[in-house]
């Protein structure tokens, strides 16, 4: 497989996943911002901060929903906006058009310019629909890949890109919570804190799954265990790391050689393994999240090096 093709597939998946992640982040911000007293806490700013987009908010004062919709949904000049991500995902897909199935391409190609010229007011009014639309696009694409795409190396690179981005999204969401309110060690005592923690679950479509695993009680320790360590929830960091490992393994078999990226993914795996039974929470969630973010970034760089991107 051409190295450029591998790079395009990897980034196509990352951008598409990032578009969806950002959509989920906005949903979470919205849930948090409607809680009483939120105006003083600047929840929306934390959403910008975890996406690295704080600098796009010029002028003082708190960050508003309008700002976030403008910056994270519509701004074509912000490389992290959903609009940019969709355009880039498609551009990456277009340059490896021959490696995608017809259905995958159609999923990428359909209405990729939807947000061009959208006005902020209109976007806010239709926000839930738009967010759903973004999530659906990503679902359709993944579904098309699931049943149609050849399981060659390109598929592995695509899945790895997606898994890295999804893991990072979960990590960032956990960090939003950190910025809003330092984690407490007790049972979440109702009120705002309860809602904030459950908003994280909601944004990741994990509330129901959480109940099945931990019963009805929300504790920060359990929630972070669920999102970091649990290996059955597909948006948990551990699950994503399992995915990266299995696809990297396949690549190693196909290429007949192990590279530095294989060591790093094992390192992340170990880190999560040692965080079981609440250990990760005891050691400090924020620090663990930051470490995981750093390691996954390094992993992405190493994959590019190992396969000559």
């Amino acid at each position: 497989m051409l190295s450029r093709t591998a790079a395009n597939l990897f980034w196509m998946a990352r951008y598409l996943e990032r578009a969806e992640s950002t959509a989920r982040l906005i949903t979470m911000g919205q849930r948090m911002a409607v809680l009483p007293g939120s105006a003083y806490r600047d929840e929306w700013r934390s959403v910008l901060r975890v996406t690295g987009c704080e600098s796009f908010h010029t002028g003082g004062g708190p960050v508003t929903e309008e700002d976030v919709v403008r910056i994270l949904l519509l701004d074509p000049d912000n490389p992290a906006s959903i609009q940019s991500c969709l355009v880039r995902a498609r551009a990456n897909g277009r340059s490896v058009r021959t490696k995608l199935t017809q259905e995958m391409w159609e999923a990428l190609n359909l209405s990729w310019r939807r947000f061009e010229g959208y006005d902020v007011g209109q976007a806010r009014a239709e926000l839930p629909t738009l967010i759903d639309w973004v999530k659906t696009r990503a679902c359709v694409f993944r579904g098309a890949a699931e049943t149609g795409m050849m399981r060659h190396a390109g598929h592995d690179f695509m899945r790895i890109g997606g898994a890295i981005e999804r893991a990072q999204m979960t990590l960032r969401l956990l960090d939003v919570k950190y910025y809003v309110l330092l984690p407490e060690t007790d049972v979440v005592g109702g009120g705002r804190d309860h809602y904030q923690w459950t908003s994280v679950l909601h944004a990741l479509s994990g509330s129901r799954a959480y109940h099945h695993v931990y019963g009805g009680v929300h504790t920060p320790a359990n929630i972070s265990d669920f999102l970091m360590i649990n290996r059955t929830f597909p948006r948990s960091v551990a699950y994503c790391v399992d995915q990266m490992r299995s696809h990297l393994e396949r690549l190693a078999m196909e290429h007949g050689t192990l590279a530095t990226c294989h060591k790093t993914v094992d390192e992340i795996f170990e880190l999560l393994l040692n965080g079981q039974d609440g250990a990760i929470f005891q050691r400090g969630l924020h620090e663990s999240v930051q470490l995981c973010l750093k390691l996954t970034n390094r992993l992405a760089d190493e994959i590019a090096d190992s396969y000559y991107f």
Binding site: M1, L2, S3, R4, A6, A91, R94, S95, V96, R97, T98, Q102, W105, E106, N109, L110, A153, F157, L251, E254, H255, Y307, Y308
Partner: protein
């Protein structure tokens, strides 16, 4: 009065159009419009687009598709096919000649300076024998029709003619939407084109190639106007679609960069102009291209299809001499005629053209895509005067042809089937042998009376049928 391909002046439907006419009547104009919308939606979703240079607006515009097929009878096609093969063979013979002894020039049939001073001539190619002596592996010949028996060649395309993807997709869409039309087996299929193309490309593998040749399609990238076609053809041939940056040259062999390290490439079907192929051989300021590619080619390490310098054969100034080539190399009379052409480069021609510019179609010798041309009968006095000034400033850069009564084909109008002018581009493959699928691209001017069919100028395309009997 233009020749209408569907219907004789007395109202009788020409035999080859019987099936199409029956289908039009059965479906009705409204029904056809409904289906047309469906077809457009399919095209848009698949992403068959054609970027138009210098027009702004949508960078991935859809090329308009007209639902009504253009039909050739078996007999008409047989004659076309012979003429096309003959021409493709002569053009390749000419290319071999001008890059070797130049017999046709020595014999005085073509002025030497027209070849050797032509920017499309590549002195770098002199004395080199490309595999199979083939220079132009895909010859696209633009043909117009002016009467029931009159087919004439408008121009030749020996470099990298585009449009074959439309031939294939138009048929695909038609078969998908109207299976009934094809169920009777009246229409000859064209879908083996990609397989024939791959076969052709493998036949011209370089001397250094061992085993099954590795073929790639080299595209300038996804911003190129024909990128869709590049990816489409690579896909159907099952070969890698590469960009210049994916390739490098070492020890006179070409390698592609893969996730497992470098891998050999034998044959490159390139859809990049000569100028941008190799900055070491051609334009040094080009950021595109694969340094050392041309050297590897000359050393027999890789085959470039088409060969650099193939463009000298399709130059508009050389076009006039193609009938001469056919006589000279093949000892035959041309089956397809040229359109009478005045060369502004010679004094007699210039005088005639300037005196009759209002009746002629004038073109730049090196132009393409319908840009920079003047259609005298449709131009204003001021436009004609301005164009005359341009010709006077550089006579050698222009040719002129009579305004032809191009035939018309049935086209779906708002409320009725209307007549629109069309041309035809078949694609002749040249490897160890010549291959031609029965069909080609019909381009149609969608504006009433317009003679410009180029997709860059708002022309459309339609399916082209060659009947089995």
């Amino acid at each position: 009065m233009s020749f209408f391909e569907m219907q004789a002046p007395d109202g009788a439907i020409r035999a080859c159009y019987a099936e199409v006419k029956r289908w039009i009547d059965e479906t009705g104009i409204e029904g056809l419009h409904r289906r047309m919308d469906e077809a457009e939606a399919i095209f848009r979703r698949i992403g068959i687009t054609f970027a138009v240079y210098g027009e702004g607006g949508d960078p991935e515009r859809l090329i308009p598709f007209d639902l009504l097929p253009r039909v050739f009878s078996r007999l008409e096609w047989q004659r076309l096919e012979q003429g096309i093969r003959q021409r493709a063979q002569a053009l390749n013979a000419f290319l071999y000649d001008v890059y070797h002894r130049g017999e046709i020039l020595r014999a005085g049939h073509i002025p030497q300076e027209l070849v050797y001073l032509n920017p499309a001539f590549r002195p770098e190619m002199l004395g080199f024998d490309p595999p199979g002596r083939v220079y132009s592996h895909i010859v696209g010949i633009d043909i117009v029709r002016t009467g029931p028996e009159a087919f004439e060649v408008l121009e030749d395309n020996c470099r990298t003619p585009s449009g074959v993807s439309y031939m294939l997709e138009n048929r695909e869409i038609m078969t998908r939407m109207f299976p009934g039309l094809f169920a009777k087996g009246l229409v000859t299929p064209v879908d083996n084109y990609p397989a024939l193309l791959l076969k052709t490309l493998k036949e011209v593998a370089p001397p250094a190639c061992k085993g099954d040749p590795v073929v790639v399609l080299l595209t300038p990238g996804s911003l190129n106007s024909a990128y869709y076609e590049h990816s489409f053809l690579a896909d159907l041939m099952g070969i890698e679609l590469v960009e210049p940056m994916d390739l490098f040259v070492e020890n006179d062999r070409v390698w592609k960069k893969t996730t497992a390290g470098p891998r050999l490439v034998d044959v490159i079907y390139r859809r990049i102009d000569d100028d941008y192929l190799d900055p070491l051989a051609f334009r040094p300021d080009s950021l595109l291209g694969v340094p050392g590619l041309f050297h590897a080619y000359r050393a027999g390490g890789v085959t470039l299809c088409s060969a650099p310098g193939a463009g000298i054969a399709d130059d508009k100034a050389i076009y006039v001499y193609v009938p001469e080539m056919i006589r000279f190399y093949l000892g035959e009379e041309p089956i397809l005629a040229n359109i009478p052409t005045w060369q502004c480069g010679d004094a007699e021609g210039l005088a005639y053209v300037l005196a009759h510019l209002g009746e002629l179609v004038a073109k730049e010798v090196h132009g393409s895509g319908g840009y920079g041309m003047l259609i005298g009968p449709h131009a204003t006095k001021a436009e004609i005067a301005a164009y005359a000034d341009r010709i006077r400033a550089n006579p050698g850069g222009f040719i002129a042809q009579p305004t032809l009564e191009l035939s018309t084909v049935p086209t779906l109008g708002e409320t009725a089937v209307v007549q629109r002018h069309a041309d035809f581009r078949p694609f002749c493959l040249v490897g160890e042998q010549m291959r031609l699928v029965p069909g080609g691209l019909t381009r149609v001017a969608l504006t009433e009376g317009s003679l410009v069919v180029n997709s860059s100028q708002g022309g459309g395309v339609k399916d082209t049928w060659v009947l089995r009997s």
